[in-house]
Each structure stands twice: as C-alpha cells, then as structure tokens.
C-alpha cells in the first residue's frame, strides 16, 4: 500500500474512532499491516482521528517492538535467539539469513521452546527450522507436545487444532457457566476461595481474594481481563491452551465477570501469538452467536461481552498495570502500586486480571467441585499444574501434573530424562526471572511450599534444562540481553541496571572478566531486586544472583 493513499486507513479509523485513545494500539496494528510500517502522515492521521497528541502517538509507536517508523523488506522474519533456541542452532540459522532479502528481527522468546529453534515468518509459527531459503513452509508447523500424569487443564488439547464451541459443549463445556448463572455471585467467589486456586502467571496471588476485592469495590463500571501476554522465556503453556482450548479460557473469564459484576472483558494476547489471537477471536464470535456472550448470557439477565486485543511486542505488558496502559492506548509503563487493580484497574475502574491457565482452572473447579479439585495436589498447593519443559531433555513439551510430584518425576519419568549421552548440569526454574536448580534439587516436590523452602520460584512453570555441554555464561548473557531489550525505561534501577548487567556478562561470556565484575554484577543485581518499580526489574537479576551463589568461579576476573 503506498503511504500516500490514506483511504484504507480511514476505513479502519472510522470504525475505531468512537473508542478514542483506547483504540490506539488496534489502529497502529492496522497501519503497520497496511503499510508495512507507520509513516509520519499515517501516524498524524491516527492521532488526529483518535484525538491523541502527536508526540504521544510517536511515544507509543516507539515503545512497542512490532511497530516501526522505518520501512522493512517485504518478508519480515522473527528469529528467537533466547537460550533454548540458541542451543538448538538459532545462531547458525541467523547467519544464513544475511544473504536473503528479508528483514530479520531477533525476537525475544517466541513461546515455541518445545519446537526449538523457532521462528515466525509472515505470521506463521515454524519450529525445528534448519538453515535454508525462507518460505512459509520452512521447518515444521508446531504441533502441541503434551504429556503428564493427568489431563484436566489440557483435556481438550493435543489435537493440533482449536476445539470448536460444539465440541467443547459436547465434552461438558459451559456446564460450569450454566451452573454459575443460577448461583449468587458471592457463592461463586466462595467456591473459588475454597478451592485454594492461586494465580498461575507467576505471582501466585489467591484468585478468590482478588475476585472478592473487585466485587466489593465500588465503581460505575468493572472489568475482567485475561492476561494472555505470555512472554516469559521458556513459557508456552498459555499459548497451547489458547490455540487448542479457547472456550476453556473464555468460560473462565465469563464466570469471573459474573462473580464480580463486570459487563465488559478484554482478552489481551501477546502480539507474536498470531494463531492464539485468531483462535480466541473465532471463539468469541462463536460464543456471541451461541448466546454465551451478549446482552443476555445464556438467557440470564447477566450481560457481558469481550474484546480481543493484540499486544505489540513488549514483555513488560505481562505486568498487569502495564497491560492496562496498553489497552488504554499508552506506552506500557507499569503503574505505581498501590492502588491495586481490584480498586483502580483498567480505565481506573475495579478490575480482575487473571492469567490464561488460572482462568482455565475456573470451570474445572466448578465442574469437579472443590473437594475433588483439592484431592489433587498438596494441602497448600491444590490442583493441577502445567509445566513447560524445554532444553536438553529427551521429550520437551507441556506436562500436566498434580502439584506435589518431584522434579525428578517430571524430568525423568515424563520428559524422558536428559538427552542421550549427556548429564544434567542445571535447570532454570520459573523462567528468565527464575533461579537455577541442580542435581541436588531433583527430589524437591513441585509445590509452592516445597519450592519456596528450596529457594526456587515456581514462576510461570518453566523448567529449562541444560546438560553438561552448555556454557552457562552464554545462557546468562542471553537472559541479560532479554531484560535489557524488554526494560521499559521507567525506573532508573532497571533502565540502567539491565544495560550494565548485560555489558558485564558480555565481558564475562567473552572470557575477559575484570576483577571488579562479580561485585558490580551483584550490586547491580541487588539494586534492581530491591529498588525497581515493577516485577520485571525486581526479577531481572534473579537468575544471575542465583548463578553467582552456585558457581562463583564462572564470574572470576583477572
């Protein structure tokens, strides 16, 4: 599309204009898709129609990695270069791209770790890619790799396609919602509280308490938001659920809305997750047509509708308040807390925001009943849990187990152990924002209480395995690069600390550590941990600090 032709843009803007600034990200996505980048006259028009100051339009374009003010080649390809994909050969793959007429973005973890090395070419996810000419059929189309002791959260997954509404209902779907609509909202909240469900996005906050807070808060409107902005390196569980069981997520969101009295919801999906976005959009349309959404949900007097939103390339937007800012059409800066979302959330209104896996638990709890749900797992960590196993194991994939099985069971019995001919060196637990485990931790049980005692974060359920042949300094450098790339720049400790951490690790990985480097790294790390504004900065040094403790020799300088 020549950038002088603004007519297709105007058609889009006409539809979006009534939303004002809240439509800024959808408008910029449309412009990026139409013109391949966002040229000045296009940005000007968007600002004019949506009534956003031009300087702020510029600020928003620049914040999100998927928007660009510069033209790109016809084919844009995103190559993951984070630890697991790098170990599987992404560096070699990148080298062969230099001679091809494509625009290459080294993307942060694409959430395809079980298919490493992974890329996205023209919106198509491709795994196990090998060097060669770039087409949309390079490598393989990723197909979910599932395993585990149970299949409750993943009962509708594993087919390689989305479960349609009719199939979902045939398998007992939306029965929980039908039951809920006959109950008073506080009874629904009581059930969720009794189940002991806590958030699966990383912070492990009790879901029932969150719902109760928002239900009791006063506001002219309330919102529910599904956080599908999964981008923690090594995490792919939410992608698999959204791609294959969209109604399982949607049902959880509708129930949350009923419980707190919200009439509008948002599904915010990571910008790189094209397939999950399309799948969820189709599911929402099906649910609307089927009467599961709308002015009268399943014939009740409860009105609720959902808007599906795409992120635009910013890991920090997985932080709940940054995600609200993105929906509101702003740079994804995390807000100062308190106040918390339950009283001051999206558009300043009481809001419940839950992770995809958390919401998938909701219909399960209401179908099974609290007692049966709690019979799974441990007393303090009830229920099923998804683990994203990647790296040097025989069978990487998504594993569903009850809380309380050991790390050894997950790795050896389920994932087939360390790849042939090798032995375990380390496991990165919880994601880039996690900590390292070693051989001595294998018999730790996978529950919040046991992991806490062992000093390991459950995080988003990442179990990234490294055998003895891997250079941990290189792994740490890649994690540091990730955080430096994803820091929003709002607070100083993270804005500068992630950069300095990366620079020191570059030196260490290249074998040129200075005598002062280990102490500097530790100081920068603790300053970010103690003093950063949001969870990104507070955990940006987590893996490095754990490595400093476990393997001080890695950081020794001359």
């Amino acid at each position: 599309m020549p950038e002088s032709d603004l007519s297709p843009l105007h058609a889009v803007l006409e539809e979006l204009a009534s939303q004002g600034r809240a439509a800024l990200l959808p408008a910029l996505h449309a412009a990026q898709d139409l013109y391949g980048h966002i040229p000045e006259p296009v940005a000007f028009e968007i600002g004019r129609v949506l009534r956003v100051p031009l300087a702020e339009v510029h600020g928003v374009i620049d914040f999100y990695a998927l928007f660009s003010r510069e033209p790109a080649a016809k084919t844009v390809i995103q190559v993951c270069n984070d630890p697991v994909c790098a170990m599987a050969g992404s560096e070699e793959f990148l080298k062969t791209l230099r001679r091809q007429n494509v625009t290459v973005h080294q993307a942060p973890c694409l959430g395809l770790c079980e298919h490493a090395p992974a890329i996205i070419v023209r919106e198509a996810q491709r795994g196990h890619v090998k060097p060669g000419k770039i087409t949309e059929t390079i490598g393989e189309a990723p197909r979910s790799l599932l395993g585990g002791d149970i299949a409750l959260l993943t009962r509708n997954c594993g087919t390689g396609r989305a479960t349609a509404l009719l199939e979902y209902e045939a398998a007992g779907g939306y029965l929980a919602l039908r039951k809920v609509l006959t109950l008073p909202p506080d009874q629904v909240i009581a059930e969720i509280k009794a189940s002991g469900l806590v958030g699966r996005g990383g912070a492990a906050f009790p879901t029932g308490l969150k719902w109760e807070g928002a239900a009791k808060a006063t506001g002219e409107r309330k919102f529910v938001v599904c956080n599908g902005d999964e981008a923690e390196p090594g995490t792919f569980k939410d992608r698999v659920i959204m791609e294959e069981d969209p109604h399982g997520v949607l049902e959880g969101l509708i129930i949350a809305a009923y419980a707190i009295g919200a009439n509008k919801g948002y599904l915010f999906i990571r910008g790189e997750y094209h397939r999950a976005f399309k799948t969820m959009a189709v599911a929402v349309a099906e649910a609307r047509a089927g009467g599961h959404l709308g002015a009268s949900v399943l014939g009740s007097d409860f009105a609720f509708d959902v808007e599906v939103r795409r992120g635009a390339g910013a890991y920090v937007c997985g932080e709940e308040t940054a995600l609200f800012e993105a929906i509101e059409g702003k740079r994804g800066f995390p807000r100062v807390k308190p106040p918390f979302p339950t009283t001051h959330g999206l558009f300043g209104m009481p809001t419940v925001i839950n992770n995809v896996e958390t919401l998938r638990n909701v219909p399960l709890i209401l179908t099974l009943g609290t007692a049966r749900y709690r019979s799974l797992g441990t007393e303090k960590s009830p229920g099923p849990k998804l683990f994203c196993v990647s790296g040097d194991v025989a069978r990487p994939g998504l594993y569903e187990v009850p809380f309380g099985v050991t790390i050894r069971h997950l790795l050896e019995d389920l994932a087939g152990g360390i790849r042939k001919g090798h032995r375990l060196q380390a496991i990165l637990f919880g994601g880039a924002a996690g900590a390292f485990a070693t051989e001595k931790d294998l018999d730790v049980r996978l529950s919040f209480e046991d992991l806490r005692a062992a000093g390991l974060p459950l995080g988003s359920g990442v179990v990234m395995v490294f055998d003895e042949s891997r250079d941990l300094r290189d792994i740490l450098l890649r994690l540091a690069r990730f955080f430096a790339h994803e820091s929003c720049g709002k607070c100083y400790p993270c804005q500068i600390g992630t950069q300095r951490q990366m620079e020191i690790l570059e030196r260490i990985a290249a074998g040129g550590a200075l005598l002062s480097d280990a102490a500097c790294l530790s100081d920068v790390g603790w300053t970010m941990t103690d003093a950063s504004l949001c969870g990104l900065g507070q955990t940006a040094a987590s893996a490095v600090i754990s490595a400093l403790k476990l393997w001080p020799r890695l950081f020794e300088g001359r």
């Binding site: 000045e40 940005a43 000007f44 600002g47 100051p53 031009l54 300087a55 702020e56 339009v57 510029h58 600020g59 620049d62 914040f63 003010r69 910013a314 740079r331 100062v336 430096a484 790339h485 994803e486 820091s487 929003c488 720049g489 709002k490 607070c491 100083y492 400790p493 804005q495 500068i496 600390g497 992630t498 950069q499 300095r500 620079e503 030196r507 200075l514 002062s516 500097c520 100081d523 920068v524 603790w526 300053t527 941990t529 103690d530 003093a531 950063s532 504004l533 507070q538």
Partner: protein, 216 residues
C-alpha cells in the same frame, strides 16, 4: 479533619495527616530523604528510586515520594540496603549521562561515596545537541529522564503535548513527533520545561550562547 497517623521514621515518633507521603512526613520532621526526579509541582512517578526507604514488613524497598504513611509504620531511611541502592543508582547514572551541570546529584554522589568510574566500558547516552529554535537548546546527553519536562508540557501545567518519549529502556530519549524541529510542533515556548530541568539538558539558548562565548 482526619485523625493523624502515628509512625516512626528512624526511630523518631512522627505524626502526619493520612494521605501524606513518607517523603513529606519525614521532611516535616526534619529528616531529609534524598530525591532526584521528584519536584514539588510535578506528579511524582517514583522513577529515580533514590528516595527508597526500608519499611518494616515490606519485601522490597519503598519509594518515599509516592508511598503514604500508615498507622504504626516503621520507616528506616539509612539502612545498609537503602544506602547500597542509592549509591549504586548514582553510580549507574554517572556512567550513563553527563552530570557536570547537576550540582545536587554531584553532592549526593559525594554523600554516598559513589564512584563515577564504577562501570568501565559502560555505554553512555550521548546524542548530539539539538539547536532548532531561538528559545532553548536540548542537550540530551545530560538528560536523566526525570520526565519533568514531558509532564509540565502535558497535564502537569501547559497542556501543549509537544514532547514525549522515543524508544524504550536504556535507549529512551525525549522527542517530538517524528523528531520534528520544535517550531513545527505544538510547543508554545512557555519555557516551563527549561525551568524544571535539573541537569542543564534544557537551557535558554541565550545562556548557552553566552557560555559558548558566542555572544558579547
């Protein structure tokens, strides 16, 4: 009138109205908590984190410029953790931008024993000076991203919205729409941004010319 909140700051009993920040309560009690990005007439955003203090029961350090006092709160403003964070933030700042015209920050560096050379080989933010209008120059090599200029240009004062951010993370800069020269933006040359800039990144063009010896 609401009943005052009772708390302690560095073991000193302090009484403050509900809704008072720790920073202001401390100031009223004669305890100085250092700040950099904070300005009495701008929205506080807790960016620089120099004002962090230790609050009993809190996992992380707490920014005093935005955190409110609470009944029974026990605040410590000079613990080892607090001082390490402050010193390190100052050292990181000095490794990033030109602080030569930021006397308050230089004084803090002295007070906290911060070493400006702590990070050898560190990348600096060093963009060229922008001299695009008759009123003021913009030397972003001195910019510490305190956001004050952006805020007074927007809803903290002038509602002109001429400037905002470019890029993100370490590479963030202040910019106009598509880097247009200032006369081609909504800027009304009110000068408030120059007035709140703490580091000399924004400066009256006449003052700058005098410094350069380009004016009599």
């Amino acid at each position: 009138m609401d009943t005052p909140v009772q708390l302690t700051i560095d073991d000193q009993a302090v009484s403050a109205a509900p809704g008072t920040t720790i920073h202001k309560a401390a100031r009223a009690a004669g305890i100085v908590i250092p700040t950099i990005c904070y300005h009495d007439y701008c929205t506080a955003n807790a960016l620089c984190r120099i004002c962090v203090v230790e609050v009993e029961g809190s996992r992380t350090l707490v920014p005093a410029c935005v955190a409110f006092v609470a009944e029974g709160m026990r605040v410590r403003t000079q613990t080892e953790r607090v001082r390490r964070a402050r010193k390190n933030i100052l050292e990181m700042l000095a490794s990033t931008v030109d602080l030569s015209e930021a006397p308050e920050i230089l004084a803090l560096m002295k007070e906290y024993g911060a070493d400006a050379q702590r990070f050898p080989g560190a990348l600096k933010r060093d963009p060229p000076l922008v001299d695009d209008n008759p009123m003021y120059i913009r030397d972003y090599a001195k910019c510490i991203l305190c956001w004050r200029c952006v805020q007074v240009c927007a809803s903290d004062a002038q509602y002109t919205y001429a400037i905002n951010f470019e890029k993100r993370g370490f590479h963030t800069q202040i910019s106009t729409f598509f880097q247009r020269p200032m006369p081609l933006t909504t800027c009304v040359f009110c000068g408030q941004c120059v007035g709140v800039c703490p580091t000399g990144a924004l400066k009256s063009r006449r003052a700058w010319l005098l410094e350069q010896g380009m004016l009599e």
